[in-house]
């Protein structure tokens, strides 16, 4: 009994390779010898989840509390909200013009969970002359060693997530593809287990691994296509992209709660077993994207181009706008423990499902005017269209990219 596993709450906008080129499609690569450093601050928040019927429900299932022989004391209804503050650092390097390698790691600055506990009284208690009030319940629980959980819990302070390593290869183009400005890219990426897991004895806490963030898999394989039908000089004014990828999540083993901190609400190890496993369930993702360059802006010959305006014309436009839609098909997460009933209950909100992700981004590129940086702001929403068995973590990202080339 007790609180269910707090659903992974604030998935991140953390696409590993998003290139700041004039050709900013989903399958592009960096020019050979070029570094790109991308530093971003992400603020993600969520306060609900979509259940198996696509209905919006709180992140925590209600917890019915009983007193042995005295019936239902009441129902703890928590409507937690989760805020994640993350510094995301990405470093990309163009090994060749076609092959780019990338490293990325989200550094969680902190995760704040507001429990927002509420109480629904249960059965009338003749000996009290009333049903249990919320205060009654926590006084009762306190007399048995169960403290009331704090309303605001902070975790994941300065904690690294799983480290992502990715390789993207821009496939050779046929003459027809070149003639029609179509390119293909392939990306493979994997996550190294450097993230922090949840303390099993904590009620209001989440971890910082790929499973918890639920935004990138332990391994992914992408295939993408970009089409640029409209150009002004060397700048593509419109880029239409599409991508499909498969994300695999490895089975993870977690320690079961022993009740050392929450004896009434979080004691599972005696019957669940000392550990349990979660097979996270893989994802299949389809994504489409449109990028428009409304303002190409001034083009100057600067130190970056040794004074060449011609070279500067190949840089990205001053302003580009992007909208993106992703459909994520979620395969069910399977929980394995000694106690099947518990496992099934835990997986209640982790069955097969899907997400609709909408994103929009504006990028201001200063390359054409002699500053090797790009500033961007990105918004992402997962609840414009309801999903199923998922937690919509909406996010705002503000970032800066630096381009470096040493030879």
């Amino acid at each position: 009994m007790g609180f269910r596993h707090l659903a992974a709450a604030a998935a991140l906008a953390c696409t590993v390779i998003a290139l700041p080129q004039a050709h900013a499609g989903l399958g592009d690569s960096l020019p050979r010898g070029t570094f790109l450093i991308d530093a971003a601050y992400i603020y993600a928040t969520t306060s609900r989840q979509f259940d198996r019927n696509g209905k919006s429900v709180p992140l925590l299932a209600p917890t019915e509390r009983y007193e042995a022989g005295a019936g239902l004391q009441g129902i703890i209804r928590a409507t937690p909200s989760v805020q994640q503050k993350i510094f995301a650092l990405r470093v990309l390097y163009g090994i060749t013009d076609r092959l780019t390698i990338a490293f990325a790691n989200p550094l969680s600055l902190e995760t704040v969970i507001q429990a927002n506990l509420a109480w629904e009284p249960g059965d009338y208690q003749a000996s009290l002359g009333r049903p249990y009030s919320e205060q009654d319940f926590w006084e009762w629980a306190g007399s048995m060693g169960q403290r009331k959980p704090v309303n605001r819990a902070v975790s994941n302070k300065n904690a690294w997530g799983d480290t992502v390593v990715a390789l993207r290869y821009r496939l050779p183009s046929t003459e027809w593809m070149l003639a029609n400005n179509i390119s293909l890219g392939m990306t493979l990426q994997g996550a190294l287990p450097t993230g922090r897991d949840k303390n099993p004895e904590a009620l209001l806490e989440i971890g910082n691994t790929a499973w918890w963030l639920h935004n990138y898999g332990d391994a992914e394989a992408h295939l993408s296509i970009d089409w640029r039908p409209w150009w002004t000089g060397d700048v593509a004014r419109l880029t239409l992209s599409a991508e499909g990828y498969y994300a695999w999540l490895r089975t993870r083993t977690y320690d079961a709660a022993t009740g050392s901190r929450h004896p009434l609400l979080l004691t599972q190890a005696p019957y669940v077993g000392e550990t349990y496993k979660i097979n996270g369930g893989d994802w299949q993702v389809g994504r489409v994207q449109i990028e428009w360059a409304p303002i190409i802006g001034p083009t100057l010959g600067t130190w970056m181009t040794q004074g060449s305006v011609e070279k500067a014309r190949k840089f990205p436009p001053l302003l580009s706008l992007l909208v993106q839609y992703s459909f994520v098909n979620l395969q069910p997460s399977v929980w394995e423990s000694n106690y099947d009933i518990w496992s099934v209950k835990q997986a209640e909100f982790w069955g097969a499902g899907y997400k609709h992700i909408f994103a929009a981004q504006a990028t201001l590129s200063l390359l054409r005017v002699g500053a090797p940086m790009m500033l961007y702001v990105r918004g992402r929403s997962l609840d414009i269209l309801p999903g199923k068995n998922m937690r919509p973590a909406n996010a705002v990202t503000v970032g800066m990219r630096l381009l470096l080339k040493f030879w």
Partner: protein, 602 residues
Amino acid sequence: MGVYRETIHLRGAPYARGLDHGKRLRHRIRAFYTQVLSTALLPNLNREQPSIAGFLTHYQGDAYADGKFSYQLLLEMAQSVETQLPEHYKEEMRGIADGCGLSYDQILLLNTFPDTVLAVRAIAATLRYSGGPSLVRWEVKGLKNAKGEPAKEKKYNALATAQAVEIPTDAQIRLVLSDADGVDPKTVRVQLNSTLYVHGDAGLAMKQLTTKEGEPKELEVILTPTEPLAAASVQAVMISAADTTILADPPPAHARFGRPETLTFTTKGYGKKAAEVPNKGIDDGRTRPPPIAFAVKGSATKDGAPILAQHFALLDAGAAHEGTTLFVHHAEEGSGKSDHAYLSWAGLTWGFSGMSKRGVAWACNFSDTLDNAILKDLLGQLTGGLDKAKLTSKGWPIGLAMREISREATDSDAAMTQLVKYQHLMGWVCMVADKDGKLRLAEIDADAEPIDDNLPEGVTVVKWNGSPENSPASNTEDDLRAGVHYVEKTVDVDPLITALATALLGNAGVKVTIDSQRVVSTYFFKSLLVFHTLGTILTEQHGKLDVPAAQAILSDPRLVDKSDSMNAVVFEPATGKIHHAMGAVPATDAPWETFSFADGGQ
């Protein structure tokens, strides 16, 4: 919510069947133990340590410190129970322990706690409620006695029948509550049939009555119904109140309430004597129904075949339903015992209902009584002083006694005869129906009377006695019903137990009146309500009853405890079929499934 239930067939020697049970239900047993005992009942009982150790100082010792009180207390009680049990049940429990990885002590505790905890609860609840106000006197203003004079104030005595009959329709009802700390008028709640009166309402007047010393220990409550009472009708009044103190330990802090009391009257023209008018109680909208059971046959059923049905409720604790199991025991060849099945939970060697292949079906409801093994054992320890006395309880858990009966009894009468042989731990009402349609109800207590007296022995058998007037649990020859109160064993406690209680509780600063079940049990009026509701339903459906009808009765919201319902069952002893609903809360939310001995019991 999912539905969780298993059917487990067990064979072989006792240890082997226990081992098989333990292995197959290993994790359910561990979950049941953790969720119902470790994280629910045991810590809750730990809260009672100060009050119990206040007069039984043995429990102040180190062995009971640091949260070990409840486990150690229940284990010691379990070990005293164990001394009474035959080896084959101990062997079976050893097998379960080895199979599931819990200790033998844990399995022993698991198999004895319902009886021992209920016995403790009966005492604790009596203590709790006896500290609150009690209804001591009543009077109907306007009522005349046989001589035509105004009827005098009467001492209150809880009854299963009417307090007074033929009262005027404009009568005022005067009730006097008493408490050593005074009664708080703001907590008084009076319900007349379906109309509620509370402090400040028109129709409810209250006045403090002072003692000679000037202390306000009594509160006079006068109910003047806002509408005239209906003529020739039955009127029921429920009253509850708290005293002026706040009980802070164990938390939560609350006013000290007395037991709600229900009184029944008839108005002029009804025409029956008080003893002929049952006190059917009042549904106050906040009372959870206790378990019920009924048995029907002959003219009551569609085809004349006997049916026994029960909806059992006690404690689910949000978890027990996950461990519900139908155990089918196959007798060893040549043993002369019968195959038998019972509805139970993972880790238990018994249940509260079952049936043998020979066609003897049974169902037991707990019945609150202070005539239990704990007090019986305490009596024997009094000479040694309360500092050495311990709470022990020698006897048989009811489920094991009934399992023995399942193995051996050939019919209902044999079951009754066998039931008398066991020392029982707690109060129970057990209904038995056999394949030939013999319906019996056993009212059981621990027979704790320390001296020979005229009180009933441990088992009182209730059956049809020729007429409804002489058959307190039957409308006709072909039906029998039970709640959780005794219908014939109406005086169950020896006055010496009252003396014992006074000795014990005087040290705890509590004055207690211990009398019969109807006076002290918190279940008494709740039981009357469901008992009579069930009686009405059985009358309405007389001749139309079959398995689906019985199942529908067990699902009737008036009879279902939505929080602590544990299982529901309909037995057909003539055909060897068991129809059960369990694994959900309430149990009747689960689909019904059928097990049949006729199918080879597989």
